[in-house]
Symmetry: C2
DNA sequence: TAATATATTTACCTAGCGGTATAGATATAC
DNA sequence: GTATATCTATACCGCTAGGTAAATATATTA
């Protein structure tokens, strides 16, 4: 587990980070249940005991791949939400999502949705984890919007929770669309239409 | 396979329609891969050979359950799209989706998305089938919108394909939200925000 | 070089998977 | 009543799943 060099025994013959990236690809494409250990070891280029020694078991491997997903392919979120203007922030978020979904080297779809949406009882912990992960993403969007209200980028009466939920739902829907074969321009137009719900100064966003 | 009565041998001891409904529930909740034959037979109240005799195999059972889903829980779509006014039609569609997603007797989420979004190679045929099914649903929405243009319910320059894709994506996103624990009011507000993208006479819907 | 610690390889384990053969039960047709 | 057709129950099939024991290989430390 220690990645520091110069451990005392025989050094491992594979790069654990590369192997984890390969595992991520498999989980991303096939989901947690659909990815078998044989799929994983083959893609990672190692055999079973090496996988267990380095990553624990299938569930821990998935969790580590998930962390890597957030720090890697999904890291655009940070940059987008750091944008000074709220609307621009969300537009960059959409752009990042589309780049992620349409990158030819990636499986189509978002790991947080594809990983385990509906599954058997054994995968239930993973399913719950992904639910939390998605909720956390939505919360970050909401917080960004709240900052937008504070900055007067958004009307004071904006319901940031509602708007964040809507934007998140659209992103998740784009995800399903990507997994169904939609292309870049089609996703772009979905995002543009979603932005029509952006609140105007007249105050039309959060009236239940 | 023949459901007509008075066949010559011993009559089957279970109601095939009821059993199929039970199977649908299991597939809906756990997905195609997550639902094991033991899960299915237990829920259906029959044993394995009866299942195979009546429904073929797991894949055929899923396909039959899917047909039943469309004719049953998802049949609200027909009614909604038959509404005379285009906008009202879509609003009824959203209402139907929410009713489906929030019915306490149903698993949360839509069978067409939960069934098999990402899966192993063995389930690939089912995944493709669900993609087709979702595309068919989107096409029906598009056709309804096109009729709306013909009826002058919608501006003449409306891009119906784009709008249908957007609305479908929102519905699919609501689906993921439902599977993550959203409640009825929350979904309602998502739908309401989506309707803000509805084209106005000024012609703001389809400008790429 | 000897001792030790870790990694890899091979071969295997148990459990559950989807699917089925076979024998027994229960209806109709004659 | 007997033959026949169909359904049900038990027990099983081969296969793959996730996971591991034991032996071998290769590095560091002394």
């Amino acid at each position: 587990m220690q990645k520091e060099s110069s451990a005392r025994g025989r050094p491992r013959a594979f790069d654990a980070d590369v192997a984890l990236d390969r595992a991520l690809q498999v989980f991303w494409r096939k989901g947690y249940e659909g990815a078998s250990l044989s799929d994983l070891t083959e893609a990672m280029g190692i055999n079973r005991p090496s996988l267990y020694a380095a990553f624990g078991n299938k569930e821990e491997l998935f969790r580590k791949a998930l962390d890597r997903y957030k720090d890697g392919p999904a890291s655009y979120v940070c940059g987008a939400l750091a944008e000074p203007n709220a609307r621009l922030s969300i537009e960059k978020l959409f752009a990042g999502v589309i780049n992620l979904l349409m990158a030819p080297e990636n499986p189509s779809g978002c790991m947080l949705v594809q990983g385990a949406l509906a599954c058997g009882d054994e995968s239930e912990p993973i399913r719950r984890r992904l639910i939390e992960e998605r909720a956390a993403g939505e919360a970050r969007v909401r917080e960004r919007l709240e900052r937008g209200v504070a900055d007067a980028d958004l009307p004071a009466d904006t319901d940031c929770a509602d708007l964040a939920r809507f934007l998140t739902a659209v992103i998740q829907g784009m995800d399903v669309q990507a997994a169904s074969g939609a292309n870049r321009e089609e996703l772009w137009r979905v995002a543009q239409m979603a932005m029509r719900a952006w609140p105007t100064e007249a105050g039309a966003a959060g009236e239940a």
